[in-house]
């Protein structure tokens, strides 16, 4: 108070005098003592606010950082009132500033919690509905009244049977296991492998289905077992659950994961593969290791008479109502039987909920559509909810279909799968496709023990054969005793040239060489034998020239004079002809290149 003022200001001259003369009061004595000790230096200790602010501002940031490191709680606590009143002031002055800053956080946060709340609600609602008319429900209603809980709550409590068997804490980036807990009764898989595999599945799903950012796989269902996955920024929590867990467990996972993120913030960030830092997280994980079992026959006896009367009425009502439901139930059962017979469809779970039917199962992409099968029954589609997960059936019919889809064979090719899982390919196909199919099969045959392409005939070979036959059947006819072709034979000559050109083109496309093309000239026996020999030569040469004109390479064209010795029948114009024969190249398909010799 006054004391502090005197402490820092030098007392006026008269005061000093006074002080020396009268016996010093304690206050005046202090001042005197100070003056004697510090003398003029006192002046410099005067708190000039400007100087101090400057000095403090220089070290303020560092000071806060240090104090945070050493006494984090204290500083935070000290700051709370200031921060609170700062926020209050900010809101009072201009509410827009804060609300704009918070906007990007509040949106997703509310969406998430609303979605979770709705999910919880629907689940308990469904359960409530399902049990609202069962005989047990009477007891539960009674219990609800007695305990002041809602009926839905009691149903949930009494029907859920589940056990969390294993909880894994996984480092998100590397997929490495940080810690795990296993319930006593459960047999667990190697958690290191499970963590990595779950991470790989997550990656796969995220990549393959192009999920929007932030979305991730959160449930895996494998028969009885559910895996619930909760992903945080640095770590992932995965729970292996047997049975039906309530949605609240999801909330527990979220809380636990948040706690772990808070408690292990820096070990998570700097994780280099050392699990040791996470040893103590066991206690957190233990919170998720929950189980709930159906309680049978415990609890006090209900008043029997009241209960019996109630049950009696209820049974009557139920009887009438069940009559209506039985019919639908039979149709449903028939439908399930049909699905079970169908290759590529596996029914995993099916149940009736209220007036509705629910079904989940596995469907090979190539199987009959369950919807189409449903349409053939009397059941109404809106009565039925189905969920089908894709899987690959190893049924032979599907292996074959799948290979058909992969190989896309042309219509002329037949695929057959024999009982030993050997795939036989037969028919004609372009060489390029044959090579492709052999390469694909050589990569390892899914569902196949072996494969055989020996019966595949290259389509090009057939084309060449057909052209050869066509060319060799034609003759170009000549006028009697002349090297002029007969009227109307020009078209035949033209056709021979075109077919030969096509042979060349096919061969070239396959990188093959056409063998010899022989032009054989003939003449009839009229006139001198030697002249006829020359005439047949001249006819062959005429055709040779014409074909060269049409673009057939000269070196391939050989002439042959067969004179008058090769008569067909006497007086046949065919005796004055030139016919063509070709040697075809042997066509081989390239054998598949094996991956390793």
């Amino acid at each position: 108070m006054d004391n502090s003022k005197t402490g820092s200001l030098p007392p006026p001259e008269d005061q000093i005098v006074e002080a020396t003369m009268s016996p010093p009061t304690s206050q005046a004595g202090m001042s005197e003592l100070r003056r004697l000790l510090f003398g003029e230096k006192l002046e410099s200790l005067k708190p000039t606010t400007t100087v101090k602010a400057e000095a403090v501002s220089e070290v303020l940031a560092e000071a806060i950082a240090q104090s945070h490191a050493q006494y984090s709680k204290k500083l935070t606590q000290a700051a709370v009132p200031t921060v609170e009143s700062a926020i209050q002031t900010s809101v009072e002055t201009d509410i827009n500033v804060l609300s704009e800053a918070l906007f990007p956080i509040i949106g997703p946060a509310t969406r998430k919690s609303v979605a979770a709340a709705i999910r919880n609600l629907t689940q308990s609602f469904n359960q409530g509905l399902e049990h609202s008319l069962s005989p047990q429900s009477f007891k539960w209603r009674w219990e609800a009244r007695r305990t002041g809980r809602s009926f839905a709550e009691v149903v949930l409590l009494r029907t859920l049977v589940y056990q969390v068997e294993q909880v894994l804490l996984i480092h998100k980036e590397t997929g490495l296991l940080l810690q795990q807990v296993v319930s006593e009764q459960a047999q667990s898989q190697d958690p290191d492998l499970v963590s990595a595999m779950l991470t790989a599945i997550q990656d796969f799903v995220q990549d393959s289905f192009n999920v929007q950012s932030g979305g991730s796989l959160d449930t895996l269902e494998v028969g009885e077992v559910n895996i619930w996955i909760e992903a945080g920024p640095q770590a992932v929590l995965a729970c292996v659950i047997r049975g039906n867990a309530p949605q609240e467990l999801r909330g527990q996972l979220q809380t636990t994961l948040e706690q772990i993120h808070r408690a292990y913030a820096s070990p998570l960030k700097d994780f280099e593969g050392d699990q040791e830092a996470f040893g103590s997280s066991q206690t957190y994980l233990q919170d998720c290791l929950k189980a709930q079992f159906k309680t049978r026959g415990n609890g006090q006896k209900q008043r029997p008479t009241k209960l019996l009367i109630g049950l009696g009425c209820l049974t009557l009502l139920l009887g009438a109502w069940l009559g209506l439901r039985i019919k639908a139930g039979q149709q449903w059962q028939a439908y399930i039987n049909q699905l079970e017979q169908e290759p590529g469809l596996v029914v995993i779970q099916q149940k009736r909920q209220g007036g509705k039917f629910k079904l989940s199962g596995l469907q090979d992409p190539l199987a009959q559509s369950p919807d189409a099968l449903l349409a053939q029954t009397k059941l109404k589609p809106e009565q039925v909810t189905m969920r089908w997960e894709p899987y690959l059936s190893l049924d032979d019919a599907f292996t074959l279909k799948r290979w058909e889809a992969w190989l896309e064979p042309p219509d002329s090719v037949t695929l057959k799968l024999d009982p030993d899982q050997v795939l036989h390919l037969s028919g004609t196909a372009p060489v390029s496709w044959i090579n492709f199919s052999q390469r694909l099969l050589a990569k390892g045959g899914e569902g196949l023990r072996d494969w055989n392409t020996e019966a595949l005939i290259p389509q090009e070979q057939q084309q060449l054969k057909a052209l050869q036959e066509q060319i060799e059947q034609r003759s170009i006819l000549f006028s009697q005793g002349s090297t002029n072709i007969e009227a109307g034979q020009q078209a035949t000559l033209q056709a021979q040239g075109e077919d030969l050109a096509e042979v060349m083109a096919i061969a070239q496309a396959l990188d093959l060489e056409v063998g010899r093309i022989t032009l054989a000239g003939y003449s009839d026996p009229k006139g001198d034998r030697k002249d006829n020999q020359d005439l047949s030569q001249a006819r062959a040469t005429t055709v040779q020239q014409a074909l060269i004109q049409q673009g057939i390479p000269a070196p391939l064209l050989q002439t042959q004079a067969l004179g008058e010795n090769h008569q067909t029948t006497p007086e046949n114009p065919q005796n004055r002809r030139v016919s063509i024969s070709i040697e075809l190249p042997e066509l081989e398909t390239q054998s598949p290149t094996p991956p390793a010799p």
């Binding site: 480092h171 980036e173 590397t174 997929g175 490495l176 296991l177 190697d190 290191d192 492998l193 990595a196 595999m197 790989a200 990656d203 796969f204 995220q206 990549d207 280099e272 593969g273 050392d274 699990q275 040791e276 990569k443 390892g444 991956p595 390793a596 010799p597």
Partner: protein
């Protein structure tokens, strides 16, 4: 216990799965069954200053039908680039993959495995190629899953490289 994620990367049929099978289970088969997706195995390496668990991600090989998904490499502390010595093109693909992986997960230790050295007389990869790789400062090993050559060595070498502090990942320390 220290754990590290290690990936097997390379073209198809270079022997990634065979190397892992040899290392983890000590077995080898001539039968080729292509890997679909990812296969995970683990093994503890005891050779270093402290034992280390390697969690091995055996990823399907790159071929003309599909590229390797880089997301499978996230968080890997090291990887093997597996090359089939008898097929030159698998080396080119490995070099391209190395650049891709490094761009994706940063400079972590890796070892080039020139596999199938039991068939060295049929190799298309030449000593010159190997010199080129070494000139880049890469660790190159000739291996054979079939005859168990250099398999143990490779894994313990990578484990050792991974246990060193990663100075090259701190930019201001790079010379």
């Amino acid at each position: 216990m220290i754990q590290k994620k290690v990936c097997m990367v390379g073209s198809f049929a270079t022997g990634k799965t065979s190397l892992v099978a040899r290392f983890v289970k000590g077995i080898y088969s001539d039968k080729y069954q292509t890997t679909i997706g990812v296969k995970i195995d683990k093994k503890v390496v005891e050779t270093g200053p402290q034992p280390m668990t390697l969690v091995l991600w055996d990823i399907y090989g790159e071929d003309e039908f599909q590229n390797i998904r880089m997301s499978y490499l996230r968080g890997a502390a090291g990887y093997f680039l597996v090359v089939d010595g008898t097929r030159r093109e698998t080396l080119d693909i490995a070099i391209q993959l190395q650049a891709k992986v490094e761009a994706h997960i940063g400079p972590v230790p890796f070892i080039v495995m020139l596999n199938k050295c039991d068939l060295e007389e049929n190799w298309e990869v030449t000593p010159g190629d190997i010199d080129d790789l070494q000139a880049k400062g890469w660790t190159v090993l000739k291996s054979s899953a079939k005859e168990n050559v250099a398999v143990e060595t490779a894994f313990s070498k990578l484990a050792e490289q991974m246990s060193r502090p990663q100075s090259n990942s701190i930019p201001w320390e790079a010379a």
